[in-house]
Assembly symmetry: C2
Homo-oligomer: 344 residues x 2
Amino acid sequence: MDFDKQMNSRITIVDVAKQAGVSFGTVSRVINNDVHVKKETRERVVETMERLGFVANRQARSLAGGKSNSIGVLVPDLGTGYIGEIIRGIDAELSLTDLDLILYTTHRTASKETNYVTNLATGMVDGLLLVLPRSPADFIGNLTQSKFPFVLIDHQGAGRDCPSVGAANWQGGYNATEYLTNLGHTRIGFITGSMDLGCAVDRLDGYRSALRTYHIPDAPELIYEGDFFQPDGYSGAQAMLDLPEPPTAIFASNDVMAMGVMDAVRNRGLRVPDDVSVVGFDDIPQASLVRPALTTINQPLEKMGRVATQMLLDLLKHPEKKADRIELPTHLIVRDSCKSPRLD
Amino acid sequence: MDFDKQMNSRITIVDVAKQAGVSFGTVSRVINNDVHVKKETRERVVETMERLGFVANRQARSLAGGKSNSIGVLVPDLGTGYIGEIIRGIDAELSLTDLDLILYTTHRTASKETNYVTNLATGMVDGLLLVLPRSPADFIGNLTQSKFPFVLIDHQGAGRDCPSVGAANWQGGYNATEYLTNLGHTRIGFITGSMDLGCAVDRLDGYRSALRTYHIPDAPELIYEGDFFQPDGYSGAQAMLDLPEPPTAIFASNDVMAMGVMDAVRNRGLRVPDDVSVVGFDDIPQASLVRPALTTINQPLEKMGRVATQMLLDLLKHPEKKADRIELPTHLIVRDSCKSPRLD
DNA sequence: ATTTTTCTTGTAAACGCTTCCATAACTGAA
DNA sequence: TTCAGTTATGGAAGCGTTTACAAGAAAAAT
């Protein structure tokens, strides 16, 4: 493993072959673990490769072999810790293989997404992991049709019939709401996420279903349309607390907005959870750090990345396999931000 | 841009050439913006490429052209939001070019690091961005020697003479401590980070220097060796508050530990900042979210990623350029976790 | 000992592009 | 008109592999 040797003059299989006294074909076979190599020959070649510090040229292998040995991960951006968690899972799983991870960000430009996918599917990567919370784009159809291996992550909507992994958003919305009703709340505010995202819709549906189950009448004024960012949590809470009959609990579609809610509550001199209970969604790291610690729905992001990667690897191995959708369970994490409503 | 055409039968420059009635050499020239192409010819070729949905094969270009059109980013892991921020900056900058970002995680295995670097530098990528907070490994020397373009991020220590970007950790440590002394504190506890990391050492040094400047006597019992994780913040604070003469302020080497400190303070029935002031380091997103909002030192992680990338791009363009180290300033962010000590 | 069969190895032809060299097609000046 | 001087284009050689295919060597069967 002499570093310099590798750096200066690139060592190729031909060099190795010459040194080992075999043909380059044999060296190639050794690299690819071909069975048809005598044991001693293989050992000699391996030894030579190590001595020379040979590293196979990835590009050449791709070109000749028709596969790139890397998988592409397409994400909208890296802004939220949310995506980072998913990538972490992907990386963890990928590091068990010899596949490279090529990261692409679309920065929320739909045109860029299509463009990338086209490029990628044209030989740059062997498979694709798509984190695209937005509504499904055309290219998903194309991808499916062309049988290019890919898995969707946290993507609901039209893509139900292609390989994807998501979280049980509906269930989470339901469970959180159920928890609040069980505590005795009947005026439960809800702050939605961006409604163009499937997950936001599902969470809202879960909330509504729970209310129905527990015979709590619809109250449109208790639903505020947010966008997943903190300011909307704040303003949503303000709006609701201004109501003649304000909610005793507020369920925000994600933790960041829930923190906005907490701020708004406090800024009116009210207390969490004594005056207003707050529930979030996601269970981001800071959920356990804020005071009071936030009761929330845990979404297994890292695991979603892992599972999606496993699915893709499986797809790569067995291209004929049918697509399926895996929905990972969400869990209610009870902390300190909820309480039974005061009886006044 | 017909998707299907691309997916099914790969379109090559030869196909384009045939359709456009030119030789593939000319097509190649068009792709590479070679000056020696008649305007009309170029237009015709471009039109044909678009019509056919031609996408150049990256591997082939790399193989033939001798460069990979991608840069490698080597990080220890993705566990902390910290790295995510840096990658975000890298990505932002890279998306202005047509370079791909290949992400490698070493998962804290030194052997893996060396291995990767060797591989990468052997033609897999055109340049390397290394986020390696640990003490410098041999390969940095090799990299330098072989003139492979690379930039170190947030890495102090022996690598002072190679291209790198970091944050003013010493200054941050100094400023935070100075701020506390200015508030009137004289018993200031410090919880260090992992001392095998250059940044942790620098922060401690900054703290010490500030104390010296303000003639505050050394108090070894007020320095607790932590590891950058929350539990150590907690236990460090506990240990110090048990002291006969406990600190009136605690400065933790990063925000996560500072939150541990806050917890510990509260768990003893004391209040932040009334009884104990707390300062963190990093300014992670949740720093502004916790209550009381954490006063801390802002470290421009995203910008570090950006700057490092710019340096690398520059290095790629002008390989002869001298290495330099850029230190990005840190800033004190005053929030609500500090107060003058009570006068008892 | 001879002929199969089975292993093992060598070789040539891709893979899709860049790049250099040669040639062809234009310039404009003599 | 002719000859250099440009500029535009075609084509060949290679980049470092993989992957047939062919051939040689060894082992097994006759």
